[in-house]
């Protein structure tokens, strides 16, 4: 009979706990948003944060509430955007694919090393020592923090400057935040002009530090018929929305720093 007491007591405690949990799950049930669940199932689940939300569940919840537009998911691309639009009942969603772009061409041929850097092979470490070894204080250090951050193998360092393969890029934005110099930006993939420089130095200083850097000569701004190119702080920038990809700014650039994508 001795064995019965423990069995009854443990059984009773277990049963009680089970009943309490069962009751609690009914009493304190949180109504789940069916739309949000369906949306979450469609999203890639990478939780990359490219949409601007904390992860796929956050984005799904925001979409279900109508706070966020479908089509913000870069890794999912057009297919996911269309599925989200279907679930939300808003019909087909147009989605322009984005890709990262490195705004620097300071390769080994165009810039010099201002010192021999022998520290950790990481941009974030190198940048703490006098801003890095590159002769241009705005330029790419070529140590590949962006390439290490990329989960898709889309970023490569060639001859001391990072390069993004737009075919492989899903625009998750990890390289953008990994670059200590802030050289990488996301932009729509379409025929357009890109200023491949981030130097805000005056023309003379840029000429000394880099063979191709933007000197702010304004020729591109004058050449553009659509008002897409503006020069600010000695650096040209192309507005991807306005750019038609005519290529006149690239022809006008004396430094050949504007490239056509």
């Amino acid at each position: 009979m001795d064995i019965l007491t423990p069995i009854i007591i443990v059984g009773a405690i277990g049963l009680l706990a089970g009943v309490v949990l069962a009751v609690a799950s009914i009493v304190m049930a949180v109504p789940k948003d069916e739309k949000a669940e369906a949306l979450e199932a469609v999203l890639p689940g990478a939780n990359c944060g490219a949409c601007g939300y904390s992860g796929c569940p956050g984005y799904a919840a925001a979409m279900a509430k109508g706070e966020a537009a479908p089509g913000l998911c870069s890794p999912g691309g057009a297919a996911v955007a269309a599925q989200c639009g279907e679930i939300l009942g808003s019909g087909a969603v147009e989605m322009t694919r984005k890709a990262a772009m490195v705004h620097c061409m300071g390769s080994g041929d165009n810039t010099q090393e201002k010192m021999v850097y022998d520290g950790l092979a990481s941009c974030s470490a190198a940048v703490q020592l006098a801003g890095g070894a590159s002769s241009c204080r705005f330029g790419c250090l070529g140590l590949g923090d962006c390439a290490a951050a990329c989960d898709y193998g889309a970023v490569e360092v060639c001859n001391g400057v990072a390069l993004v393969d737009p075919e492989k890029c899903v625009a998750c934005g990890k390289c953008v935040s990994a670059c200590p110099k802030g050289l990488i930006h996301l932009a729509p993939v379409k025929p357009r002009a890109v200023v491949r420089c981030s130097s805000c130095d005056k023309g003379k200083a840029t000429m000394q530090s880099c063979k191709v850097g933007c000197i702010g000569c304004m020729k591109c701004q004058k050449a553009c018929e659509f008002g897409a190119v503006t020069v600010k702080n000695g650096l040209a920038a192309v507005d991807p929305e306005k750019c038609t990809g005519c290529g006149k700014c690239a022809e006008a650039c004396p430094r050949h720093i504007i490239t056509m994508e």
Partner: protein
């Protein structure tokens, strides 16, 4: 409550944080200590969840042991029953938080289920009973204060260690030591430094 009781409660609270720290002195709860201490904010969230669960678990298991298990001579069942009760409690807490405090639920979300099988929580509930058996004045209130202090001690250890680890990130660590080895070395150094608190509390409150 007289001054003597309050003084002993303060002594219990401080001892639980400093000299009897569950992580650094008793080496319980090492899994979350190493796993979730990479960043300060996640370490803080985890520790808060552990503190809450420790107090609630003690509040429930103490009466169960004292009024159900002990009178029937079933002390040997405490591990089994406590794990059952703690798991159910954590589940209940999670459901309740989800309903009434969604922001808190979202910030603790992932850590709550992890705590279910955290040995530090089980350790607190069992060790307060040991203390109660050794010292009759160590009752329900003292047990709760001890549990709360243990949670705060866990928080202190986690925050200290998260700070240490964030600094380790920027260090040039030899390849052999990278990752877990240097983390364990750092953990042992923090634990050794905590030994310095031995005796401090007794003198403060004694």
């Amino acid at each position: 409550m007289d001054a003597q009781t309050i003084r002993s409660l303060v002594a219990i609270f401080l001892a639980a944080i400093l000299t009897e720290n569950y992580v650094l002195n008793k080496f319980l709860g090492i899994c979350p200590f190493l796993g979730v201490s990479k960043k300060l904010d996640t370490a803080f969230g985890m520790s808060c969840a552990v503190t809450v669960v420790m107090v609630i678990a003690t509040a429930v298991t103490w009466p169960i042991y004292t009024y159900i298990l002990a009178p029937n001579g079933l002390e040997y069942l405490q591990t089994l029953v406590f794990i059952l009760v703690i798991a159910a409690l954590v589940q209940l807490l999670e459901t309740a938080l989800k309903k009434y405090m969604p922001p808190l639920y979202n910030s603790l979300g992932i850590y709550l289920p992890l705590i279910t099988t955290n040995c530090a929580v089980l350790g607190v509930t069992m060790l307060v009973l040991e203390k109660g058996a050794a010292d009759p004045s160590f009752g329900y209130l003292q047990s709760l204060v001890n549990a709360f202090g243990s949670g705060i001690g866990f928080l202190v250890a986690m925050l200290l260690f998260a700070g240490v680890r964030e600094r380790l990130e920027d260090c040039d660590i030899p390849a052999t030591f990278q990752g877990l080895p240097i983390t364990l070395v750092a953990a042992s150094l923090v634990a050794v430094s905590f030994l310095g608190f031995n005796g401090v509390v007794d003198r403060l409150a004694g």
